[in-house]
């Protein structure tokens, strides 16, 4: 495929996404309001942590990691700012504002803006904290774990871009008896989160996490647009695999391929409905 064709496909992809986002918002506006928070994956212990933070007068610690609005993972920072907004709003009845940390200096204003929108109390400026990242974000992890001994949060919500340094933060949280929720756009971070965090989300759930906590229909509609794209992509890949198999195996007749495709589609629909 030459570059020009690839560019045309890219433009088409963006345009279709725009249409999908608007269409989802239009059609899912009413349905989304009925979604219950109880179905939220990875958030089973969040209400407990929130209650503990409010009762004990301890903060929650939220972290973007190295996700920054001036980097290639700007979308991760934008998505997690939305998640943090809903978490801070839920913690608003407490006395101590949550702490948001980042290793991207450009994200400091985003942290302060998120706290300003969701929290009404005083001293909000000091609740956004920047730590220099260093070459492998180890300096960030070291600074963070030292600071968290001072702040003594009830739990850590680590949602953003984390690599292996996540192990240091989660280990520190475990030793101090603090809860942890982790999700990362990096594969190493995701694996460590699965092994060490109390609650975990994987992969693209990073972008739909806010939809589970929000009562706004628009957030759920955006997540649905993402689901729809994923479904289309899976269907396309399945069709290509089946066509390839049909061409290579003599026993795989077209009727068998169509049967297999229908069976796969049926299983896919059932799994999607049961989520």
């Amino acid at each position: 495929m030459d570059d020009s064709t690839l560019h045309v496909y890219t433009i088409l992809f963006v345009m279709i996404t725009v249409v999908l986002v608007y269409t989802s918002r239009y059609f899912l506006a009413r349905r989304a309001r009925r979604l219950s928070q109880g179905r939220a994956p990875g958030f089973k212990r969040l209400s407990g942590w929130l209650g503990e933070a409010i009762e004990a007068g301890r903060p929650l610690h939220l972290s973007f990691g190295s996700a920054g609005i001036d980097r290639e993972n700007a979308a991760v920072a934008a998505a997690e700012a939305e998640l943090f907004y809903h978490i801070i709003k839920a913690a608003r009845s407490g006395d101590v504002a949550p702490v948001i940390s980042t290793s991207s200096s450009a994200t400091v204003p985003l942290c302060q803006d998120t706290i300003r929108r969701a929290w009404d109390g005083d001293d909000r400026r000091a609740r956004a904290q920047w730590f220099p990242g260093g070459s492998r974000s180890l300096a960030f992890a070291a600074g963070l774990t030292a600071t968290m001994q001072v702040e003594d949060p009830s739990a850590h919500i680590l949602a953003g871009s984390f690599g292996p340094e996540l192990a240091l933060i989660l280990d520190s949280a475990e030793r101090q008896g603090q809860g942890s929720f982790a999700v990362s756009d990096q594969l190493e971070g995701g694996a460590i989160a699965f092994a060490m965090a109390d609650e975990v989300l994987i992969g693209e759930q990073l972008f739909s996490a806010a939809a589970w906590l929000s009562h706004e229909s628009t957030a759920r509609a955006d997540a649905s647009a993402q689901d729809l794209w994923r479904g289309l992509l899976i269907a396309l890949m399945a069709i290509l695999v089946l066509i390839n198999v049909a061409g290579q195996l003599s026993i795989a007749s077209w009727s068998l391929v169509v049967g297999a495709a229908l069976a796969l589609a049926f299983i896919g629909i059932i799994l999607f409905r049961r989520r």
């Binding site: 570059d3 020009s4 560019h7 433009i11 992809f13 963006v14 996404t17 725009v18 986002v21 001036d70 993972n73 700007a74 979308a75 991760v76 934008a78 998505a79 700012a81 939305e82 907004y85 200096s105 450009a106 400091v108 204003p109 985003l110 803006d113 400026r125 000091a126 904290q129 920047w130 730590f131 220099p132 260093g134 070459s135 492998r136 180890l138 300096a139 992890a141 070291a142 030292a146 600071t147 001072v150 292996p164 192990a167 240091l168 989660l170 756009d185 594969l187 460590i192 699965f194 092994a195 060490m196 992969g203 693209e204 990073l206 972008f207 739909s208 955006d222 647009a225 794209w229 994923r230």
Partner: protein, 216 residues
């Protein structure tokens, strides 16, 4: 919300939308004369199309450099507040900051402190990281006592054994290689594809001015 605030929100959303759209189109359509083959001055037009993206990306680079000052100010603000309360680590941080500035200024830009202090400390942290990861791996089944936790630990053990340079473990190495090449590679691609789709949808939301930061 007052009328002036509503106008401000609409204005900021419009600016974001316009700048985002122009930059996106410039990145996608700029520098490709073959797309405008029917136009007379196709090369000049294609070159002009790259200009908005180049200007915006230059602006981003400059703004990013300025935000370092915001980061350092934030660091000092937070830790000076804690020094008043007698936090030991914050006192060490402020003293190290002052010492580094003084050193750099008095030694005419000498960065030997970086090599002498930060590099060994980061190496020590990397060693600590190894211990944390081993400890975390050992606790997996305590945290996730289900089929997925068991699968995680099994794969971990097979891959670790497969990486050992012992001749009698050759069959395990074959299993380890297969795991890394087929299921792990497929899973990693699936996760990255999902993240890419999420990035596009979030990017479109920001581009359309629907993000919360534009809502006042």
């Amino acid at each position: 919300m007052s009328r002036a605030q509503r106008i401000g929100i609409a204005f900021s959303a419009f600016i974001a939308f316009a700048v985002g759209l122009i930059t996106l189109l410039s990145l996608l359509l700029g520098g490709r004369p073959e797309l405008y083959a029917e136009l007379a001055g196709a090369p000049v037009f294609a070159s002009l199309m790259t200009l908005p993206a180049a200007v915006m990306l230059r602006l981003v680079a400059i703004t990013s450099a300025v935000t370092i000052v915001i980061g350092i100010s934030n660091l000092l603000y937070v830790h000076l507040g804690r020094v008043v309360r007698g936090a030991f680590f914050s006192i060490v941080m402020i003293a190290s900051f002052a010492l580094t500035i003084w050193w750099y200024w008095s030694k005419q830009g000498d960065t030997s402190l970086l090599a002498a202090v930060q590099v060994p400390i980061e190496s020590a942290l990397a060693a600590l990281l190894f211990l944390s990861m081993v400890g975390g791996g050992a606790r997996v089944l305590g945290k996730r006592a289900d089929i997925w936790g068991l699968l995680f630990v099994t794969v971990l053990v097979v891959v670790l054994l497969g990486s050992l340079p012992i001749e009698s473990l050759a069959p395990v190495r074959a299993w380890s290689d297969w795991l890394m090449e087929i299921p792990v590679s497929a899973g990693a691609r699936a996760i990255l594809l999902g993240i890419a789709l999420g990035t596009v949808v979030t990017g479109v939301r920001v581009l359309l001015g629907q993000d919360r930061s534009y809502r006042g």
